[in-house]
Symmetry: C6
Subunit: 198 residues, 6 copies
């Protein structure tokens, strides 16, 4: 049985789209902060490339802390843990990049993620968003999971155009080129309830 | 020969339900504190995913120390060791997550675990409990081991409903969605005898 | 040719019982202290599970230092090395647990081990002793090696009862449930000659 | 579908030429700085030899900081991250050496990379540039990607001379022997917009 | 072609006996000190068990520094490197134990090794010497290499007694039980020329 | 196409002789210093034994700093990087030992390497030079590469004597027993141009 979209109550929880052996599915990226010395821990039965996505997202944020309005001191005073449920399923590939980035920025700013949105796309260190595969299967899974809006790389637009209109009903698409657009579209300006003071 | 429920005398010892090649069994999660610098050691012939469960449980607790009423200083002043007997049996998978979480919270608060209770369920970093497999075999093992109450993810309720009533006699089920419910149901307010002062 | 029991002159040397491809044998657990910062080194061509036993024994001792009457300062001021001769033979499994525990407590307290005793049993972090396999072969090896007393888990009693009485002549058995009993039976109150002052 | 040359707006982004199982392609080397203690992180699904290229480039720069007019303090006060999109493609080999070197010098000096240039060549610790393979395929990919100038090792000149003139139209070649020439040809004296003050 | 005994001019160089696929041979254990923080480095294409022998020798020395008349401060102020030429040949097994021990004690005391002596035997942490295999082949190699005296474990005496007397002419055997005897027989009281002051 | 001898302008660059699957070749050992804390980095697609050679060379130099007239402070204030081009070729074996040693001593003393010299030989921690294989192929490669003088272990003299005189014309051989001779023959007393002040 497939997962359903849940809510946007918690900082750092963002919905991604995954392409598995049994078709598309949604997945959740979760992240958490605890007092520490700047360590990054990654769990969820992830392969090398997916772990690298987390490292790239973290480094992009550190390198662009000023414009993201994040006090760089938090990178040294807290440990960050990124987890991708469900542990029994091995996961790999670069397509959770923008989801991880959004999760971490939500975590560091304690800003709420937009409601009913999901996303898929590779990130680069310079802030570009790259296209990913399995778009059709991911879109079908998003609908089943009651997602309303989807964030994709502009270069994945052609993949959407090849899908029958019926399948796309009720979904709104946003095509992005870089991480600024991702964050502007995915994060609200509102803080989560009981936002942590970092 | 299968294991039996023992007692709830020691902080950090919690009974889990496992699904092995030879059917269901109960297992014990043990944890211990010693003076140190915040290291986490995990033993018991565990695979990668089961070790990740321990890391997630630990991080969840650190990240929610306030509401769990745990002084965050203990995370830096003590080392934590989690062990799952019996070393000759390789163990893996995410289903000991809630058992590990309960073990660690019992350890850090020195609160007694509820008597004759066992549990199985995956945990996530945001505090959600996820369903796990092998429910029927685990329930049979729990009965044999003289367990009285069982904690499961709400989404595993359907698995229980498919089991013949005869097999369920004498067992009380609690279905949970998140870690707060787990801890409220699994931990008493009483401290263990000779509770450590942390 | 098989090993023989030697003596109890040196702190930290304890006789265990092993089950190898060529039958039972005795083995020696040796441990040594040197000035350091609390590192634990384990040698002797050991597999993962047997190394974990050493870690569990060490952690149990740290966690119960008070009642074992060990000044916790020694854990930070000394390095501990555990070695299991003979390097050419790969060794694994949890059954040296109580032997390692006894070795380390003898080392930290400089108390003499009881004369002509051997033991086999898995340890847990909470101090319970678990049953192990290969009992018949181990008992035969113990006799050949001129052992007089044997420490076993209570749950291994049935294995002894299945052995012909003739084979058991001259051996005295002690069945234990937890580590307190192990230490009470295996360690004398006498210090070794030239005991180190820790 | 193959990649296209993009622009030279960002410090540390340099265009390389790669030889893959499906023919030539361009690739981007990205690098970023963040406050830190001199760690080097390398991502992009890279093999051992390609990671070594990054280490060699970094070490060459440290060892020749004076003539490169880089304040050696930055090596201790910042972490460097080098990434090579696209994560789904494993990459290896020494031919990205001069591209990585150019990327890092651009990063440390915040100087703009020359417009529409791409490069391929192995680097050595003493600053020599070595020839690499797959030149024909790389040149074809460069043209498709709208590259105008190409930097190669002098010893690769013979490979260019074996390519039909038609294929080379619109491309300008620079043949180099050492890293000084690479940097002189590849980097402008202009700083990037919003150059970081290191 | 096989190796020859060389000399005893350098502290830390000791001759061992090895058993290889092509018969017996002698080997040299070399060790060196340099200013440092107590690290132990081991080279020479050695397997896990042979590396463990070096660790055991080092730990035995640290643990018995007093009676070996070694100032324990040297263990923290120097790094130790143990090397076994020849790098092209993989080497493993526990039989270089007493050779490594002798090498390290010679190094730390700067005492000269006895002339024309070679040795083979496993060491234990408590200071016992254990028998090893391949004795006949090792003895033949020792003769060819112009060794005059050989140190063996007492339990290897029977192996010598099975060798024809002709083969043993010109060789003097010393049988030992523990490391004290090894050191007494293998090390002279004389310091090496240009002895380091530690 | 094979490599050619280059020059002796740069400290730390020394020419070695290698034996590869496709015959003999020359190779360059490069080394570089940068401000640091005494780390040793080794690149060039090297196997375990060849990396060990670098470690042994480094340790020999540290251990004999006085007679090599190197201020031991440099070992703590600088990082050393050893690189062996060309990254696409895996390399292993002990025969680059004397080349690595010469490279490092040239680096630490900033002395010029002798012109047109190449070398091959294993090193030991006590300073002895050992013979290596593939001599004939290496000599042929040296001639092709315009080498004039060759440094070899004395025990490799017999290999040279088996080569036809015609092949040896124009080559001068130096046979050595220990590292002192290597350094005396391979290094000039002149400093390189722009020598670093360490
Ligand atoms: Ca799912
Ligand atoms: Ca601040
Ligand atoms: Ca069991
Ligand atoms: Ca506090
Ligand atoms: Ca034995
Ligand atoms: Ca004290
Ligand atoms: Ca591409
Ligand atoms: Ca400065
Ligand atoms: Ca030899
Ligand atoms: Ca002293
Ligand atoms: Ca070459
Ligand atoms: Ca000085």
């Amino acid at each position: 049985e497939r997962d359903k979209y849940e809510n946007n109550d918690v900082a750092g929880v963002v919905t991604g789209l995954a392409w598995t052996r049994v078709g598309g599915d949604i997945l959740f990226i979760e992240s958490a902060l605890s007092k520490g010395k700047g360590n990054l821990t990654i769990t969820g039965n992830l392969g090398k490339v997916m772990k690298e996505s987390a490292t790239i997202a973290m480094e992009y944020i550190k390198s662009n802390a000023d414009e993201l309005q994040i006090d760089p001191d938090v990178f040294e005073k807290y440990n960050v843990h990124i987890h991708v449920p469900e542990g029994a399923t091995p996961k790999d590939g670069p397509s959770a990049g923008i989801t991880m980035l959004t999760s971490l920025v939500s975590l560091f700013t304690q800003r709420k993620v937009k409601k009913s949105i999901a996303m898929t796309g590779e990130i680069t260190l310079r802030g570009k968003v790259l296209p990913v595969g399995g778009i059709k299967e991911k879109i079908l899974a998003a609908k089943r999971a009651r997602i309303k809006e989807i964030l994709l790389c502009e270069e994945n637009k052609r993949d959407i155009e090849e899908i029958k209109d019926d399948y796309l009903k009720g979904l709104k698409f946003h095509y992005v080129k870089d991480m600024h657009e991702v964050l502007q579209l995915a994060l609200t300006k509102e803080k989560v309830k009981n936002a942590k003071k970092l």
